[in-house]
């Protein structure tokens, strides 16, 4: 009589003990900033190096962008890349969770360091209206690079050859919109930045996709480009929506390259303008000192 009971318990125990093997795995979480992070600049954080240890698996990502361990600033997303305005002026942590299709999660916090060495001065120039410069300093094992950019849009006295805003506040913010021929010969010590110079600045500001934002961002160590618009055929256009900054590179005899930034986009792009168009100007100079 006891035998059926014993057999049924035996069968249950065997079933429980021999259930399917369970493989426990969690994904590998990795992420890095696509460019060197700078305080208040937008930067892309890329977790695409993360992977599942199971074949054919897929991953989801979410981020603790302020590193407070209190909550997740993003929802779960299939995209491994997130754009963040870097919140730390020196260093801080950013967290990532990666989840696989089984729901297993790997969490990773990384510290990021940022250090922009710069100074702002008002140099002597041969322009009637002076300007401030921001001097970025970069030290390398074999040389020191000093990279100076005008910190204000260049202003010129009133003239029929260029355009000045009426209000003094606008003049201070936007500078003078001038034709390329004037911009190219403004100052003997400072050069109109070439496309390559601007490209280096774009790279410094997180690449073309984000530099449009980072060049405008209101932080002391940024160039803080404004959006004065452009004057073409005598008409001021795109005030507060776009900024055009001359480069020193001609496209052909009648046109030259300019950097365009806008309020609507984080991008920075080069465009060709008629040399007679009136656009904004920043100047620069650099020094390389080898040890």
């Amino acid at each position: 009589m006891k035998t059926p009971i014993i057999l049924s318990i035996l069968l249950s125990a065997v079933i429980l003990a021999s259930c399917d093997p369970e493989e426990l795995t969690s994904p590998v979480a990795l992420f890095s900033a696509q460019t060197s992070p700078i305080y208040m600049f937008k930067v892309n954080l890329d977790a695409s190096g993360s992977f599942s240890t199971e074949e054919g698996d897929w991953l989801e990502y979410r981020w603790d962008l302020n590193g407070d361990h209190l909550g997740w600033e993003t929802d779960w997303s299939n995209s491994p890349v997130v754009t963040v305005q870097f919140p730390y002026d020196n260093s801080g942590y950013i967290g990532l969770q990666v989840r696989n299709s089984d729901g297993n999660i790997t969490e990773l916090y990384q510290g990021f360091y940022t250090d922009v060495n710069y100074g702002i001065i008002r140099p002597f120039t041969d322009l009637q209206i002076g300007f401030r410069t921001i001097n970025y300093q970069f030290s390398y094992p074999d040389h020191h690079w000093s990279w100076m950019w005008s910190y204000d849009n260049i202003q010129l006295p009133d003239s029929d050859s260029w355009y000045n805003y009426t209000a003094s506040a606008d003049r201070a913010a936007y500078g003078t919109l001038m034709p390329w021929t004037v911009a190219d010969t403004l100052e003997k010590d400072y050069d109109l930045p070439s496309k390559a110079d601007w490209q280096k600045m774009i790279d410094f500001c997180g690449g073309a996709v984000l530099a449009g934002f980072n060049l405008q961002v209101e932080t002391e160590h940024g160039l803080r480009l404004t959006l004065p618009g452009i004057v073409t055929e005598g008409q001021l256009q795109e005030k507060n929506t776009a900024g055009y900054y001359w480069t020193g590179d001609e496209a052909d005899g009648d046109s030259a390259w300019a950097l365009k930034i806008s309020a609507e986009s984080d991008k920075a792009e080069f465009v060709i303008l008629e040399k007679s168009s009136l656009a904004s100007v920043r100047l620069m100079i650099e020094f390389l000192n080898y040890r």
Binding site: C19, P21, S26, S32, S36, G49, T53, T106
Partner: protein, 194 residues
């Protein structure tokens, strides 16, 4: 406590027996293996029926060798660890009682306290850019399954008489635990009969 009290009552009876066995243990769900020991007491109710109460302690582990580098990430070995204290009570049906060789078949409920730690991942990350400072270069994740669980045990053992009061036995059993780690066991033991 009930089981311990029951064990004391059983041992106080004149027709009881005490068994000590060592066992090899395998946990198929997580492919861990290990060893353990069991102490049990039997009380004869009828020539073919006994009541058994026992307690056991088991340890198990598993190492998953990986030693490979994928996308610059060094995947490190994963370890599983298991420890359990169990108590069980089971009726035992005996065939061949009184002979030189007898067979016990038993099954009953189990209460167990288990502690299991499973590595979900361990990996060493690739070198990072200068502007990234990681909290650690090795990421380590595990899952802990710990607590008191219930289940059942069933098994059989062959007893060989070796003396007036002594038996040597060889057994196999399986322990199914709900929501925790189940196992199968092979054991060898010695029994003292009053």
């Amino acid at each position: 406590m009930i089981l311990l009290a029951g064990g004391g009552i059983i041992w106080s009876q004149a027709n009881g027996s005490l068994n000590f066995s060592g066992s090899y243990i395998y946990m198929p769900q997580y492919r861990m293996s290990g060893a353990g020991y069991t102490i049990s007491l039997q009380h004869s109710l009828k020539p073919w029926l006994r009541l058994e109460i026992g307690g056991s302690y088991t340890l198990g582990s598993r190492t998953i060798r990986r030693n490979e580098t994928v996308n610059g990430v060094k995947l490190l070995d994963l370890n599983y660890h298991h420890a359990a204290y169990s108590l069980y009570a089971a009726p035992v049906v005996t065939a061949g009682n009184g002979g030189a060789v007898s067979l016990d078949v038993y099954a009953g409920p189990v209460i167990t306290w288990q502690s299991n730690v499973f590595d979900l991942n361990r990996y060493e990350m690739p070198e990072s850019p200068d502007y990234i400072g990681r909290m650690t270069n090795i990421v380590y994740l595990n899952r802990v399954l710990e607590g008191t669980f219930f289940g059942g045990i069933a098994g059989c053992r062959v007893n060989v008489r070796t003396g007036e009061n002594w038996r040597v036995n060889f057994g196999i059993s399986t322990t199914g635990i709900i929501k925790a780690v189940s196992s199968v066991n092979a054991s060898i033991g010695i029994r003292y009969c009053r």
